[in-house]
Amino acid sequence: MSRVRIEAVVNGEPVEFLGGTRQSLLDALRDELQLTGTKEGCGTGDCGACSVIVDGRLVCSCLMLAPEADGRTVETIEGLAKNGVMHPLQQQFLEQAALQCGFCTPGFLVAAKALLDRNPDPTESEVRYWLAGNLCRCTGYDKIVRAVMDAAAQMRAAGGAR
């Protein structure tokens, strides 16, 4: 495997790093950029723990090659809180105990943000089907869905997405 120079904007910061042509974007974020908030649960796109947003589109970073990020913007869990202030989704997840072990939480938060960017007032069913790509084994999803819908309401009241 050869390594190529990659320039991308990650969480608003321009970065430059060497990525392997057979290295996934997930492994590049974790091993080259030390952004270990994005997790590997399966490596086959079936669990959503590696969710990131590339050019505004929610994707599994384990299903992208690192070189594919060249010239693109990547948003990871580490970029959700702005200037140390937590996003309403992060706050609601904490207030409603919508996480237990927390391993799948980064993936859920990134996926939920992508949902609310598109649909500020989702129904329960819309939230459940949008988040069907994120597996959780601890919570049974109940509190996660409630936290996403309450965060959506809070954001609508505060005048739309931040």
């Binding site: 495997m1 392997g20 057979r22 974790r30 030390q34 952004l35 270990t36 908030g37 994005t38 997790k39 590997e40 649960g41 399966c42 490596g43 086959t44 079936d46 669990c47 723990a49 990871t76 869990i77 580490e78 959700l80 809180a81 937590m86 992060q90 997840f93 904490l94 207030e95 409603q96 105990a97 996480l99 237990q100 072990c101 927390g102 391993f103 799948c104 939480t105 980064p106 938060l109 329960e124 069913s125 939230v127 459940r128 089907y129 988040l131 069907a132 790509g133 994120n134 597996l135 959780c136 084994r137 601890c138 919570t139 049974g140 999803y141 109940d142 509190k143 996660i144 869905v145 409630r146």
Partner: protein
């Protein structure tokens, strides 16, 4: 939604029973929390494992020379690098694994016993080189016939996994080896007499298949051997003291030479109470002196880490027409996987624990077969046994024309009654839990076509055991609680809450941390629903010692007797009216601690006794598509006797998580093997765990009418009971929806459609 009866408020508690934000939450929602695979050390190598492609084979020869020669490879190990060890019992939360089996499961010695069994491991400068090194290791096998099905493995002519295994618990001691590792019997009264008196007898044979705990985080660790023989391990586990003990025994090292740091753990459910990678990573690191990180792929987790047993449950019930069950005979045959140690013992004791049946016998068989070694999975053994018993009781209700809850109430155990397994019950609220479901709106809500409602109950013992906790008071009057129990379900929050309540502080002034094996006294692992009970007890006792110390210091300051000082709402009050003194707050006393004896802290270690058993009753509504056999869960409510909920949101979370796992177990989760005994679905695509769109909201009812007096705040274990009822609750609902009794899990669309078409 959740009509929890908050007895907590009635007793003047200020923190216990509330829903504060967990102290460690921010790290987990911002991606800063460090899990096993996130640990990164300078010069770190990547470790990978070579696994057996065969389900059962003798290892003739392992040639690692080419792998050792590959540039970038720094270490290679096989079981030759492990010392030979004895068969002493190991404390693994389940206690029935032996040392030699744990060691052989980490690196096979002489034989591979399941496809995926680890044979060798390498450490290299990159995962790419490590993978290439694995291909350069050649292993010569003599492939043997294999067996996976539990009853096939019990047959006299079945391929034998271990020629030196003789069935324990049988007298006289058998002389021919067998795959049956142990037979257990739990009995009471005279079963023959019971059945003779019974007016109605119902029999059923129920079958479950192996399922996996399904934690989203694969096993991960980093091991770093010290040149002076002092080693360090970072790992995600349910108990790093247990990891330390197993690594020391497997490698023949002293406990004081292994320091284990707890990374955050991405789910365990019992599956991370043993070791797979840690001894191997440490062995690799000892060869080269560099840190070695080993992380299982999802495929490896399914191929080689402990699922729970698949089992056969034969149930025979004898009852009177009025619904009284007078006799019960249950036989449990559980797969143990490659090495003895299925949860058939616990399953046997839990099987009939909900019911006061005078004449009962439960016979259990622990049967090895060519599958990964079984590990604990949330109330190990109980869900399988309960699937049989709760399905049979539901069928009995239909035969007797009784409401399924009324039938259960008639036979339910009550305080003072003796459980089938011998111990008598003290403060339990099983009947109230049954009545809570019977009174819940869902129990009477109308149902449409192809819809059905099922009910089931569940029990688990819950355990206490050894725990240590320390409370340190800061000079500005805050406090930190230190324990060593990894926080999987929000236990840092409940530890901080119990300390805050005892100290009289607001929760915001108490932090909770998880310490490594050198920074706090020994604690048994997180599991067995024990942490809030046992470690919580240690936390409260440590906080109480701090309060005694604070009262002593106030008395010293006021020059009065210690018993003239009262501690309320975080401050000392003098009861000697003659001394007009202002109260001294924790902050006041802490800021002058030097003058009253020095820093304020206490550590308590104990062996918590008197863990109260838990009972759960669930009701499940389903709709079945008669043309495709698909089952949809429409509505679900779980009620549970929880003693007292310390942090109700995380107790509800335990119920909701257990229900979701139980529904997956009932409907779609199974291992699929090919003819050669190789797993066909080692991944989350075809090992179908419930996704968000599969489930409705899961309502919970926390029954707090029987607090546990042996715990300072009445807590009982809550984590394991919730997974016991769902298997039968779903199966009973499917029967009401379709008229077809499904006695084998999972109730997948192809199986249900075949049954609907009469071929079932």
């Amino acid at each position: 939604m959740n009509d929890a009866t908050h007895a907590a408020n009635a007793t003047g508690l200020k923190v216990v029973g509330q829903r504060p934000i967990r102290p460690d939450g921010a790290d987990k929602v911002t991606g800063r929390a460090v899990f096993g695979a996130d640990v990164h050390l300078p010069g770190m190598l990547i470790g990978r494992v070579k696994r057996s492609p065969h389900a059962h084979a003798r290892i003739l020869r392992i040639d690692t020379s080419a792998a050792r020669a590959l540039p970038g490879v720094k270490a290679v190990v096989t079981s030759d690098d492990f010392p030979r060890v004895g068969s002493e019992a190991l404390e693994q939360g389940e206690g029935s694994a032996t040392l030699v089996d744990v060691a052989d499961n980490c690196l096979a010695r002489g034989k591979v016993l399941y496809a995926g069994h680890a044979v060798a491991a390498v450490a290299a400068v990159s995962s790419e080189i490590a993978e290439r090194a694995l291909d350069l290791i050649t292993v010569e096998y003599e492939v043997l016939p294999h067996v996976i099905d539990v009853e096939a493995a019990m047959a006299p002519d079945a391929p034998l996994l271990n020629e030196r295994l003789f069935t324990a618990g049988v007298t006289p001691r058998p002389t021919t080896p067998s795959n049956i590792a142990q037979k257990t019997v739990v009995a009471r009264g005279d079963v023959a007499k019971g059945f003779a008196a019974a007016e109605v007898v119902h029999e059923g044979r129920y079958v479950t298949v192996p399922v996996h705990q399904g934690y989203i985080e694969p096993h991960a660790c980093v091991a770093w051997a010290g040149a002076d023989g002092q080693h360090q391990i970072w790992c995600s586990s349910q108990g790093h003291f247990a990891v330390r003990a197993m690594c020391a025994k497997v490698l023949g090292l002293e406990l004081r030479d292994i320091r284990v740091y707890p990374a955050e753990i991405g789910g365990g459910f019992g599956g991370k109470t043993t070791v797979y990678l840690e001894p191997v990573a440490l062995a690799l690191s000892r060869q080269c002196g560099r840190p070695v990180r080993m992380v299982m792929s999802r495929e490896e987790v399914f191929l080689a880490s402990g699922p729970t047993s698949g089992g056969v449950v034969e149930v025979r019930l004898g009852a009177m027409k009025d619904g009284t069950i007078v006799a019960a005979e249950v036989t449990l045959k559980f797969q143990a996987g490659a090495f003895p140690g299925s949860p058939v013992g616990a399953g046997s004791m839990a099987a009939l624990a909900c019911y006061a049946i005078e004449h009962a016998v439960v016979t259990g068989y622990d049967v090895v077969c060519n599958r990964p070694k079984v590990a604990a999975y949330r109330a190990p053994g109980a869900p399988i046994a309960a699937f049989g018993v709760e399905s049979a009781i539901d069928e009995l209700a239909v035969i007797l024309g009784m409401d399924p809850i009324d039938l259960r109430i008639r036979n339910a155990v009550k305080p003072g009654m003796k459980a089938v397994y011998g111990a008598s019950f003290r403060e339990i609220a099983f009947v109230e839990t049954l009545q809570a479901i019977q009174a819940h709106p869902q129990y009477r809500a109308p149902l449409g076509p192809n819809q059905g409602r099922g009910v089931a109950a569940g029990f688990w013992f819950n355990i206490g055991g050894e725990s240590s906790a320390a409370v340190h008071v800061d000079e500005d009057g805050g406090a930190t609680v230190i324990t060593s129990n990894p926080d999987i379900g929000g236990s840092r929050a409940s530890m901080a809450m119990m300390a805050a309540e005892t100290l009289g502080l607001p929760i915001e002034r108490v932090r909770a941390t998880i310490a490594d094996t050198t920074a706090i006294g020994f604690s048994a692992l997180t599991g067995g629903s024990r942490v809030t009970f046992a470690t919580g007890m240690a936390v409260v006792q440590a906080a109480q010692r701090v309060v005694q110390d604070l009262k002593r210091r106030a008395a010293l300051t006021w020059e009065c007797e210690a018993d003239q000082v009262e501690w309320r709402d975080g401050a000392a009050y003098c009861t000697d009216a003659s001394k007009e003194v202002a109260p001294l707050s924790l902050r006041d006393l802490a800021s002058r601690s030097a003058r009253t004896g020095g820093p304020i802290s206490a550590e308590v270690s104990l062996n918590a006794q008197g863990a109260g058993p838990g009972f759960g009753v669930h009701v499940c509504d389903v709709e079945v598509d008669p043309e495709t056999g698909r089952t949809t869960v429409l509505r679900y409510t779980a009620a549970q006797d929880v003693g007292r909920a310390i942090h109700p949101a995380y107790v509800e979370g335990q119920l909701q998580g257990g229900v979701a796992q139980g529904i997956g177990w009932a409907l779609n989760e199974e291992y699929v093997y090919d003819a050669k005994g190789v797993l066909q679905n080692p991944g989350f695509l075809d090992y179908r765990m419930p996704v968000a769109s599969d489930l409705p909201m899961i309502d919970t009812i926390l029954i707090e009418s029987a607090p546990n007096p042996r715990h300072p705040y009445g807590a009982k274990g809550v984590g394991e009971v919730p997974i016991v009822p769902p298997l039968a609750a779903v199966a009973n609902a499917v029967q009401r929806a379709t008229g077809v009794r499904m006695r084998a899990l999972p109730i997948s669309p192809p199986r249900l459609l075949a049954a609907l078409d009469g071929e079932g």
